[in-house]
Subunit: 143 residues, 2 copies
């Protein structure tokens, strides 16, 4: 047996990529043309109205540049609107349109199904343990 240290990151990549491919495929075959990142972005704006892009970036674990571009596409798709922030003109206020809300709500169901499918046959105790390990890895890498 190979040393687990030397393969675990590969396995991590593989699992997350399998899930992403699977999830994106499901969304597509359900008739939506939105990416998971875009869905997650809108979701977070809804949950935190008035959030600034910088905070948004942290929430979805991306950087500012990526957020700028994702927002751009979402505005083009008419799922978001930009407004200049009243008190601070450096900031942008992001507003989810009715279309945006509708899409997110519908895609939500698909995502729930995806997660259930992906986690089939795994017991919750083990998941909690994994969550713990992931947390340690994350902090180990942030010093």
């Amino acid at each position: 047996m190979e040393n687990i240290d030397q393969v675990i990151f590969y396995k991590l990549e593989k699992a997350i990529r399998s899930y992403r491919q699977f999830a994106q495929r499901q969304i597509k075959t359900s008739g939506f043309s939105i990416t998971i990142d875009q869905w997650l972005t809108i979701q977070n704006i809804l949950e935190h109205p008035g959030i600034k892009q910088q905070e948004l970036a942290e929430k979805v674990f991306k950087d500012n540049a990526s957020i700028t571009r994702i927002v751009e596409l979402l505005v083009k798709a008419k799922y978001l609107k930009r407004k200049v922030h009243k008190a601070d003109r450096r900031r942008t206020t992001l507003i989810v349109t009715k279309e945006g809300e509708e899409v997110v709500e519908k895609v939500n169901e698909v995502i729930l199904q995806n997660r259930a499918k992906a986690l089939q046959e795994i017991d919750r105790e083990q998941l909690m343990a994994m969550d713990n390990i992931l947390h340690i890895i994350t902090t180990n890498c942030q010093e």
Copy 2:
């Protein structure tokens, strides 16, 4: 406590991204200008001489298009050479240059250190358990 199903994929992404950022930063500050994916690609060619790009893609869990582009950059960097396969002219034979070998060898050490750091304070039994879960997720997403 939130439902673990609804956050575990987020945690997965976060952990893998933290590790990637950390690892790439370490490689850079060690004086190398190679990406982890490029390193992994060369590594696999060395381990499987004469491998075809399609198989290579599977090994590093990418698709053919990505491999084509990574190889392109590695040829530019003079870490790889392309040759037409003798028996089958559709194929490309990939050859690692001396420079390529040297870089990989040196970067290897950095990567070993990175992994050790990232897995600090985690016991191996738990890692094995996580490996198992990751495997289940991967197969659940591939039907």
